[in-house]
């Protein structure tokens, strides 16, 4: 059976790269994005690149119901790519920014995935690939609200994975390091910046290899292993 992919947050650069890769394999793709015009543009692109079919919808409707209709006669899969990383200063100054950060990185993803899981369980064999972040591995002075939301997402995905093992749904947590996207464009202190397509390739390879959690690119595993092992009494004083 053919694969159907639901791409949540289709306007992100990583989602675009990922969708292009699954389009080239002939999957059908349902894009979900806030910017409908932009998503329609991407839909046209994906069809020309080989997608069996592609449509775009907004987040305001019932995404799960729409995907259920869209994915009939196909194995449903989900790629969750949306998120947002305002500066910690902005969050400190504005409670609305804080609430939005938690919502877009934790509450909304969990709510959506929880609605979608039964759909995937009804037609086993698919995968959920969700973008977490290396920022979720440890609370840091510079973005701990964002990091906390991503950590919450990681924990949710662990439980969802355990559920999926029993029902035939693969759940992959992807923790990208710095990626060359709109989120990091122009930010100071970026290093070892990966291309969105490198992350997309790592995601597909993780599915093929039945991985549970990956860092992308892989060397972030080493960096984060060190960071996770710095004792808290030292880490709390570090300016990173």
């Amino acid at each position: 059976m053919k694969n159907a992919w639901l791409i949540l947050g289709a306007s992100s650069a990583i989602a675009r790269a990922f969708a292009r890769r699954v389009a080239a394999s002939g999957a059908s793709i349902l894009l979900v994005a806030r910017d409908g015009e932009d998503a329609n543009t991407l839909a046209a692109d994906l069809v020309l690149r080989g997608a069996a079919s592609c449509q775009a919808i907004g987040f305001d409707g019932d995404v799960a119901a729409a995907f259920k209709d869209f994915a009939q006669d196909a194995v449903p899969n989900v790629f969750l790519a949306f998120g947002g990383m305002p500066g910690q200063n902005e969050i400190d100054a504005d409670p609305v920014a804080l609430a939005q950060t938690l919502d877009v990185n934790f509450v909304a993803p969990v709510a959506l995935l929880h609605r979608l899981m039964p759909l995937l369980e009804a037609a086993p064999g698919g995968a959920i690939v969700a973008l977490g972040s290396v920022a979720g591995d440890r609370g840091r002075l510079k973005n701990y609200v964002y990091g906390a939301a991503k950590a919450g997402l990681h924990t949710y995905l662990q439980g969802l994975r355990a559920r999926g093992v029993r029902s035939g749904v693969q759940v992959v947590t992807v923790k990208p390091g710095f990626v060359d996207t709109a989120m990091t464009w122009g930010l100071p202190g970026m290093f070892l910046v990966a291309s969105p397509d490198a992350i997309a390739a790592a995601c597909l390879s993780a599915i093929a290899k039945k991985r549970d959690v990956i860092y992308a690119p892989f060397f972030w595993w080493g960096i984060m292993t060190i960071i996770r092992h710095i004792p808290e009494r030292i880490f709390k004083k570090l300016n990173i």
Binding site: S11, A13, D35, E37, D38, T41, L42, A44, D45, L48, R49, T181, A182, W185, G186
Partner: protein, 446 residues
């Protein structure tokens, strides 16, 4: 949401005279409008940054790169017409459309270039006699103009803006989307390769190939002197059905900036000698993948680093047929006398003028060669420019980093019409670049 600007050093492919700019990289069309609204003194569009000179940089002001506006929008296999965003690269065109039996109508020397850049520079390929330049295949484009409005520009709707934007180096606005015709073709070409003894033989070979060959190109050993002056390798090519070929070799990176002594007259001369001797003395024919033929240098990612941190210039002129032989001979004499370490120079014929007011092509012969930025380089570039202009030729703006306003004005006769058009559509000069200031286009001052 506000525009995120990145403070960057921005240079052309030649890496000479980098600019300090704020760079926006919109990922969707709406962000492009915001970039123009938020831009400071001026803004210039930048594609993949493959123009050699200062066309897509804007020192002290702003740049918008279109690399992430790279979606294919519609394709009609009956007509070959493709609509896409300006940041689509030739690499994508080949990957997606060769399997469907279509190829870009015209391709520049690198697949990393964008179609927006190809329109702005009205690029030509190895098939100019047959197929003209990129602008010849454009049906319309959506242009973000200085007043913030986007207009769908075609030869019928806005003849002045159409002619000014084709080859206009981004000075009329930012191309968001365009429609152009792809041509039927395959992923392989049958290439006929032949060693050429001197410049006379080269011109004879071009004269014979011009009317018949789809593609033709000459590689000249720019360091050869005396009786060997103008020796090189001549290639013609036709589309061929796919043949079993070895898998394409991987792209090799150039991991560091080469030191200045790496490229000497001796090392480059030896390379040129080997290249010439490797070519068959008598005509030989082989089937090669299209990209190996179109983009031999793409296999070496960031090959501009071979020329080191000081960068290099690329000289490219076109000279009308009537004066081409003498001018080319004089230019090659100047290069070999200067002894600068120039890798193979490229010789091609061009079929006629483009549709743009500042389009480079005219019916004649074009010579392109690299000149490393070393002592004496600018003097040699000035000599070459003088020889080209004296012969009734002109310099290609997509390569140029050095020309002074006077020579430019004298060799682009439609410049007054171009400047009139800018006055009409961009009286405040919202769009400007280091190139437009250097050449004093439409009165902008350095």
């Amino acid at each position: 949401m506000s525009v995120r600007w990145k403070n960057s050093r921005v240079a052309g492919w030649g890496r000479y005279a980098a600019a300090s700019s704020r760079v926006a990289r919109p990922e969707r069309q709406s962000e492009l409008d915001r970039a123009l609204a938020d831009a400071g003194a001026s803004l210039i569009a930048r594609g993949a940054g493959k123009a050699y000179g200062d066309a897509a940089q804007n020192d002290g002001a702003d740049v918008a790169t279109t690399l992430r506006l790279d979606r294919l929008l519609a394709f009609d296999p009956a007509t070959g017409v493709l609509e896409c965003e300006a940041g689509v690269t030739f690499r994508t065109l080949l990957d997606v459309f060769v399997p469907k039996g279509f190829v870009p109508p015209v391709s520049p020397g690198t697949a990393f270039a964008t179609v927006g850049g190809a329109l702005a520079a009205d690029v030509h390929g190895k098939n100019h006699d047959r197929n003209g330049s990129f602008g010849d295949h454009v049906l319309w484009f959506d242009l973000l103009c200085a007043d913030g409005q986007t207009r769908r520009v075609s030869p019928d709707s806005h003849p002045d803006l159409f002619a000014a934007t084709i080859g206009g180096m981004g000075l009329t606005g930012i191309v968001r989307r365009l429609a152009f015709r792809l041509l039927p073709g395959t992923g392989h070409v049958r290439v006929e390769t032949q060693r050429i003894a001197d410049l006379d033989a080269f011109f004879a070979a071009f004269a014979a190939a011009r009317a018949n060959a789809t593609f033709s190109v000459g590689w000249i050993d720019a360091l050869a002197q005396g009786s060997k002056l103008g020796r090189g390798v001549f290639e013609t090519a036709e589309f061929a059905p796919a043949a079993p070929t070895a898998p394409a070799p991987k792209t090799l990176p150039v991991p560091l900036d080469f030191p200045p002594f790496a490229l000497s007259r001796l090392s480059v001369g030896a390379f040129n000698e080997i290249y010439w001797r490797r070519a068959p003395a008598a005509k030989q024919s082989a089937v090669r993948p299209l990209d190996a033929f179109f983009y031999p240098l793409d296999r070496l990612a960031d090959w501009n680093r071979l020329y080191g941190k000081r960068g290099f210039f690329q000289f490219q002129s076109v000279v009308p047929d009537a004066t081409a032989f003498d001018a080319t001979r004089k230019m090659l004499e100047a290069v070999s006398a200067a002894g600068t370490a120039s890798f193979l120079a490229v010789l091609k014929t061009l079929g006629g003028p483009g549709r743009g007011l500042l389009s480079f092509p005219l019916r004649g012969v074009t010579l392109a060669l690299d000149v490393p930025n070393a002592p004496g380089a600018t003097a040699l570039m000035a000599t070459l420019e003088r020889l080209a202009l004296e012969a009734g030729g002109r310099i290609y703006l997509a390569k140029d980093a050095l020309q002074a306003p006077a020579g430019f004005r004298a060799s682009y006769p439609n410049l007054p019409a171009f400047e009139e058009c800018l006055q009409r559509w961009d009286p405040q000069r919202r769009f400007a670049s280091d190139l437009s200031r250097r050449l004093g286009i439409a009165g902008v001052q350095p």
